[in-house]
């Protein structure tokens, strides 16, 4: 048990270091970017004079040296104050919380979809390695992995929404409907296409890895021995195949959080889905510095959590690590 506590503490320490590193890099990138926070705040078409702008800059401390500005920002951050978003005119923390709820539904759905579909494709292809079916599935995966998610999203939108009219063209809820009247079915209806688009980025990765791992397992000595003991091909996959490919597949699936987050930026943009990814795009386009920094830090936490869970899960599922302790 002591080992776990030590592991968790060192991992959390590493996460803090990572956050500090990312925050410094983000801060440096933002300060050296051509975005002028005052300009972004007042808007380019306002009639505010240069003197007034200078006053705002002085009030915000923009003339202070960068290190001092960074320290001020981190101090506020530690107090839970991430600043006010310029684009949405709301505290950044509030936007992050709200948007993440919407995104979470989308990402979890896509994540589960890609995991299950990818795993199944991998098993079917791997157990028929070398056959026509395997080649078809493998080609399908290569096509998927080399196709940008936003393009697939546009295709789905053009075919399923515009031409066939099966799904709405965007947003998470029907336009012009009071929030109280929105049903769960409405939400699901709006979720399907974005979730499908987002899941596509993950499918080929998990499928190809699962396929290769299953091929390795089927060529292992223990499968040969299982065959010698009279197990049929189906029994071998059921008893030894699934058991041995589940751990790498699950680990991989948790480690794919970064692609999930990156994909959600594009998928949400295509479907105007009001999630975190969408907020990131808006923040970038409008020079909304506080929101941009907030999203960046949040994405670090999110991806780190995924990897952390992958590591923990690996330890829990693999008896060689779980029981190796007492040896």
């Amino acid at each position: 048990m002591n080992k776990y506590v030590k592991y968790i503490v060192t991992t959390l320490l590493r996460m803090v270091l990572l956050l500090i590193g990312v925050s410094i890099v983000c801060f440096m990138l933002i300060t050296s970017s051509p975005i002028d926070p005052v300009e972004a705040y007042v808007g380019s078409e306002s009639n505010i004079s240069q003197e007034q702008k200078d006053v705002i800059a002085e009030y915000w401390g923009l003339n202070n040296p960068p290190v001092q500005r960074y320290v001020t920002w981190v101090k506020n951050l530690l107090h839970g104050d991430m600043g006010i978003s310029i684009a949405y005119q709301k505290p950044v923390t509030q936007i992050l919380a709200q948007r993440f709820q919407t995104s979470a539904v989308l990402m979890i759905t896509a994540w589960i979809l890609s995991g299950i579909i990818g795993f199944l494709i991998g098993i079917v292809a791997g157990s028929h390695a070398g056959s026509v079916l395997d080649r078809v599935l493998k080609t399908f995966c290569f096509i998927l992995s080399s196709t940008p998610a936003f393009w697939i999203g546009l295709l789905l939108l053009a075919v399923c929404s515009v031409q066939l009219g099966w799904f709405p063209v965007g947003f998470a809820v029907p336009v012009g409907k009071a929030a109280s009247e929105v049903t769960v079915l409405d939400r699901i209806h709006h979720l399907i296409l974005p979730a499908l688009t987002l899941s596509i980025t993950g499918i080929s990765n998990i499928a190809l890895h699962t396929r290769q791992k299953l091929i390795d397992v089927l060529h292992s000595d223990y499968v040969l021995f299982a065959k010698a003991r009279g197990e049929s091909a189906f029994q071998i996959i059921k008893r030894h195949g699934l058991r041995n490919i589940a751990i790498p597949a699950l680990t991989l699936q948790f480690a794919s959080f970064s692609e999930l987050f990156g994909g959600s930026v594009l998928a949400e943009q295509v479907f105007s889905y009001p999630g975190l990814g969408n907020a990131a795009t808006t923040a970038g386009l409008k020079g909304d510095v506080p929101l941009l920094l907030g999203v960046a830090l949040f994405s670090v936490l999110f991806v780190f959590a995924g990897n952390f869970m992958a590591n923990l899960l690996y330890g829990v599922l693999n008896p060689q690590i779980r029981k190796g302790e007492g040896q």
């Binding site: 223990y222 021995f225 010698a228 003991r229 009279g230 058991r243 041995n244 751990i247």
Partner: protein
Amino acid sequence: MERKEILEVKNLSVSFQMYDKGLRQKELQVIRDLNITVHEGEILAIAGASGSGKSLLANAILGILPLHASVKGTMKYRGESLTLERQRKLRGKEIALVPQSVGYLDPLMKVGKQVVGVNGSKDRQREVFARYGLGKEVEQMYPFQLSGGMARRVLIATAMISNAKLLIADEPTPGLSTEMAKETMGHFRDLAKEGRGVILITHDIDLAFAYADRVAVFYAGTTVETAPASDFRKGPSALRHPYSKALWEALPQNGCKPIPGTQPYAGNLPSGCLFAPRCPYRTEACETTIPVRQIRGGEVCCNHAT
């Protein structure tokens, strides 16, 4: 030798379809004209150097060779032809393999469940574990938690859970201490006493000479001589084939005398006698197919054997 035959292998050849340069296919022969017989209650050792195709013989008997292998010759189990269909029915039930190491066990499946397999039962597994002094706690262990001796007994248990009449032990002793190797061989002897046939595939020649009833000497994918183990204990004068004699003389306790040349590998085999290129008695007649002859209670595949 009045005992009933369990397995008879005659003129067995195994070859693989391989891609040579480009798309040209070539047939790679790894076992050629191999003959062995196993009787009830006996241990037949198959002794030979690495790369002579010994493990493939085990896979061929069980019918678990890869798909691109082709098998010729006849195999009979209890007098009836051993077809692929019959092999599929018998393996794990009447013919069992005892593998080399724990590497042949699923690393993520508990030992108990694994020994039960698809044909055994929990009760039978407990019985077999008790016979080999494996406690109940071993059931719940994973293969990597087994000690060397435990692993050896678990591997034998995988075969004993069935009521196999023919055991094929593939290199069951490498890496074991002399004590443990003796103990393992003791287990196989007990199993043979109960009327089973045991094929012991090994490159440990001393072990084969000491514990087997008969020894088949394997060279470059074929059996050059099969003789009672006592002949091998006596020395070259009791042996028939020049390779068996050379093998005996190459043992440390017999002077460690090597003979020139190396064993030819699959894909590069001479026609006629496989040992001819290294044989001091070679004549022109050795370049054609050599018949198997019975001499002094053993079988030998040599024109010059007396």
